[in-house]
């Protein structure tokens, strides 16, 4: 069993992800999705022990392995670009883990080198059979097709029977037909081996096809908080240079209003408020949400936190039944909304409280017309 508790990673100062807690039962396959750049690969490298987490712990079978070096963890990783050893043959690659692992060496000493080698060869042959490459055992890995190389990478990872298998975009870069075939093979192979699997992909369809459960890494950044927690950031960011000093909105009191936020440690660094309301002049019976008070701390503007808040909020609104989302966007924020699929409606207006120029922006949710 794999347990991740409060994992966080950064790229320099920028938050990659935070508060990732996840429990993968023995034999379960869990997929992690999210667009590129959200730290999916980093998460796998942390679980494998190739990189230390910024904070949080990794436990395997109840034991904290956060400080255990990679080569003692028995966690297998299929790299996105295979990373086959160019100086070894196909069989050499698949047998590598059996040859170098500490456990294997102890076993070899006990049973005698000859028998160790015989068992190893048998295991390599078995793995090559499983991935259908028995005929390529002696081939040099730089003369493999993309699909063959991927199979060798999978066989190499599974050969030493790791406690957990990590798959980093295992089907990327393959043509559609090969993608389908390898997906089916991978499903059979992983189910048959009964290992615990963490599977990273940007493709939700692939995630659903392979995994028992799908986790959106980006959604893990965003949490719902109480109104009091977001007021400081709203005051700092939104009311600057405007006549009103009160960061509260009339809609804050409504029972359906939700405040979403991203934290860095205890401090809230981004927030937005989601109000259940139709836009002016629209059919009030069509459920809709208004995005209000989007605020990102000055120092964290470059990290794309606003986009994460917006996308996660839209997803939740969609699940909650909203048919469209809208906002009164300040002119300076117009581009941000347009980049996230919003369209501008009408000519724009001057907002009565702040006296700043605004535009009405709308994005439909799901497939229904607004």
């Amino acid at each position: 069993m794999l347990e991740l508790d409060g994992l966080a990673a950064r790229h320099g100062e920028a938050i990659l992800f935070a508060r990732v807690s996840l429990r993968v039962a023995h034999g379960e396959i869990v997929a992690i999705t999210g667009p590129s750049g959200v730290g999916k690969t980093t998460l796998l490298r942390i679980v494998a022990g190739l990189e230390p987490p910024h904070e949080g712990t990794v436990r395997i079978d109840g034991r904290d392995v956060t400080r255990v070096p990679a080569h003692l963890r028995r966690v297998g990783l299929v790299f996105q670009d295979d990373q086959l050893f160019p100086h070894l043959t196909v069989a050499g690659n698949v047998g590598y883990g059996l040859r170098v692992a500490r456990g294997a060496q102890r076993g070899r000493a006990a049973r005698g080198a000859q028998r160790g080698r015989a068992t190893r060869n048998a295991r390599v042959a078995e793995m090559l059979d499983l991935v259908g490459l028995a005929h390529l055992a002696a081939r040099s890995v730089d003369r493999l097709s993309g699909g063959e190389a991927r199979r060798v990478a999978v066989a190499r990872t599974l050969a030493p029977a790791p406690r957990i298998v990590l798959l980093d975009e295992p089907l990327s870069g393959l043509d559609p037909a090969l993608h389908e075939r390898l997906l089916a093979d991978l499903r059979t192979l992983l189910r048959a081996s009964g290992t615990t699997v963490l599977h990273v992909t940007h493709d939700p369809a692939e995630a659903r096809a392979l995994a028992d459960r799908v986790v959106d890494l980006r959604a893990r950044l965003v949490e719902q908080v109480a109104l009091e927690e977001v007021l400081d950031l709203r005051r700092a960011v939104l009311r600057r240079g405007t006549p009103s000093d009160d960061p509260r909105l009339p809609e804050d009191a409504a029972p359906d209003t939700r405040h979403l936020a991203i934290r860095d440690g205890a401090t809230i660094v981004a927030t937005s408020t989601w109000v259940r309301a139709p836009r002016a002049g629209a059919d009030p019976s069509v459920p809709a949400v208004q995005v209000r008070a989007m605020a990102v701390a000055e120092a964290r503007r470059s990290e794309g936190l606003g986009g994460i808040l917006l996308e996660v909020g839209l997803e939740r609104a969609c699940v909650a039944g909203a048919r469209y989302a809208w906002a009164n966007a300040r002119d300076t924020a117009l581009r941000f909304y347009q980049d996230h699929g919003f369209g501008v409606l009408g000519d724009g207006f001057v907002e009565p409280v702040t006296r700043l120029p605004h535009h009405l922006v709308v994005r439909r949710l799901g497939t229904d017309p607004v």
Binding site: G49, H71, V75, H87, Y96, A101, P160
Partner: protein, 541 residues
């Protein structure tokens, strides 16, 4: 003739076919002439002169039948092997540091570790003469240390380039499969680096095997290698046939090494793998306290390693005997020093011009006209030791009419021959880096032949040309082996003067020699900083 070319040209071009054929066809044939001429003059003609005029069967049987010759072979090989192993042991960790870690001053460290390699061998010898205790003088220990010192940077650079081309996640893959640090070094790093280690080792071995300046300065008359034996027989004993046999023996041994031993060491893959592709450096900053400590120790170690012998040299120049004194520096006002500087600068300018011109045409021939054999020919002088080149030219010149013997152009010619392989190594990759599309575009705009070269190749190769010229000038300034056999009294270049001063008994003369060595080192330092500066600004393709 130009007829077929004119026929295959587009019909509209027929009217201008003849002049165009003249412009296009002639330079293509002639482009190989300068490097061939230089190699012919500097290597082949002297070799012919040696073989035809001087080598007698009597000399062959006398030298090869002498047990002393074979003892020299063993000693020469043993000191070269020890030097090579030490250079690898020092250079490989430095390569790991440069290839894998990003840290403040990385570029400076890289330049610093390469610095010893461009220093004149006489300066290297002088630095270690200033460093080691007097009791060690005239023993092999300082010679091996000096050899390892100036080759370690070369090893570091060759190995680092290869290491950077290996994706760090290959190592990560081995880690996730259960390989510990020792297992990864043995099963991943070593096999993947083997071609680079082998080529670094063979270059270092060849250089140490044929080393002359370091052995002369540190060993004096007490230590002998095949290379010093050539000079000794030719100069002191006047046994030119014997010297030629020893030179030929040395050449044969080195050629066998490069042709048979080095490829075997590099392994089957080494032979098959082409030059490393251009790679984005994946070096990363140190992540935790342990890694930061390792980087700090590595950086400090590398810098100290380079700095200590140079500091010893500087200190030695500021002392007469054991008392601090500026006498050594004051003595540089001496007219013989002024003359030597003049001679050296003249030699350097001529040699740089010759080697760069020949290197440029060799590079364009290799890169564009598909004459890869020229690369090999232009690299020939690297295999022939400097003393042998000098001996060949001296013997060859003796066949010329009397007024031309000992002519002033013999030394720069020898220097240019020695520098040609270096210039070619810099210029060929640069010429290969000129995109064919750009040349085609210029052609469609009407440029051809010399104008095409002048308007497209020349500006694109400007930095590499400057680097090659600086390297050639640097080589000439420090060249010792060939000069020592060719120079007549009164036109002594700097390295010879340094060696003569350091070889004298008086402390004041030694101080002067050390001061002159510092001056020579500083000149070469400026040259390498120019080269590295050009590299940093994108001069490397």
């Amino acid at each position: 003739m130009s007829a077929p070319r004119a026929v295959t040209a587009a019909p509209r071009a027929r009217a201008t076919a003849l002049p165009r054929a003249l412009v296009v066809a002639w330079p293509r044939a002639l482009v190989v002439a300068p490097p061939l001429a230089l190699v012919a003059l500097g290597v082949l003609a002297p070799a012919t002169a040696l073989v035809t005029r001087a080598a007698t069967t009597e000399a062959w049987s006398r030298v090869l039948g002498d047990a002393e010759t074979w003892r020299l072979v063993a000693v020469t090989a043993a000191q070269a092997a020890a030097s090579t192993l030490l250079a690898l042991a020092i250079g490989t960790p430095v390569a790991a540091l440069l290839a894998h870690r990003r840290f403040p001053g990385r570029r400076a460290v890289r330049a610093a570790v390469t610095l010893p390699f461009v220093l004149p061998t006489v300066v290297v010898g002088a630095a270690f003469a200033g460093l080691v205790p007097a009791a060690w003088r005239a023993s092999w220990t300082p010679v091996v240390l000096a050899h390892a010192w100036y080759n370690a940077g070369l090893v570091a650079r060759i190995v680092a380039v290869r290491w950077e081309a290996i994706h760090p996640w290959i190592d990560d893959a081995a880690r996730t499969l259960g390989a510990g640090p020792a297992a990864r070094a043995a099963s991943i790093a070593l096999p993947l680096l083997r071609p680079a280690l082998a080529s670094a080792a063979s270059i270092t071995f060849v250089l140490c095997f044929a080393s002359y300046g370091v052995v002369r300065v540190l060993g004096g008359p007490a230590l002998a290698t095949l290379e010093t034996e050539v000079a000794f027989r030719a100069f002191v004993l006047g046994d030119v046939p014997g010297a030629i046999v020893v030179a030929a023996l040395q050449l044969a041994l080195l050629a066998a090494l490069v042709a048979f031993v080095a490829p075997a060491v590099a392994g089957r893959r080494g032979a098959r793998t082409g030059p490393p592709r251009a790679v984005v450096s994946r070096a990363r900053a140190a992540r935790d306290a342990r890694e930061r400590l390792a980087v700090a120790i590595g950086t400090a170690g590398a810098v100290a390693l380079v700095a200590v012998p140079l500091a010893a040299l500087a200190t030695a120049s500021l002392r007469v005997g054991s008392t601090p004194s500026l006498a050594g520096w004051r003595a540089l006002a001496d007219p013989q020093v002024r003359d030597a500087v003049g001679v050296s600068l003249r030699n350097a300018a001529l040699a740089a011009a010759l080697a760069t011109a020949a290197g440029l045409s060799a590079a364009s021939a290799v890169a564009r006209a598909r004459r890869p054999w020229l690369d090999v020919v232009a690299s020939l002088p690297a295999l022939v030791s400097a003393v042998t080149i000098g001996l060949g030219l001296a013997v060859g010149a003796a066949t010329l009419p009397r007024p031309m013997r000992g002519a002033w152009w013999l030394v720069p010619l020898a220097h240019a021959t020695v520098a040609l392989p270096l210039a070619v190594r810099v210029l060929v990759p640069a010429a290969r880096g000129v995109p064919a599309g750009v040349r085609d575009a210029a052609r469609t705009l009407g440029a051809s032949g010399a104008r095409l070269w002048w308007t497209v190749d020349r500006p694109l190769l400007a930095r590499a040309t400057a680097a090659a010229a600086a390297l050639a000038a640097c080589t000439s300034l420090g060249e010792f082996g060939a000069s020592s056999l060719l120079v007549r009294r009164g036109s002594e270049p700097l390295p010879l003067l340094v060696e003569r001063l350091l070889g004298r008994a008086g402390d004041a003369l030694r101080a002067q020699g050390f001061a002159l060595a510092v001056l020579l080192a500083a000149t070469c330092l400026v040259a390498i900083l120019t080269i590295d500066g050009a590299d940093a600004r994108g001069g490397r393709p």
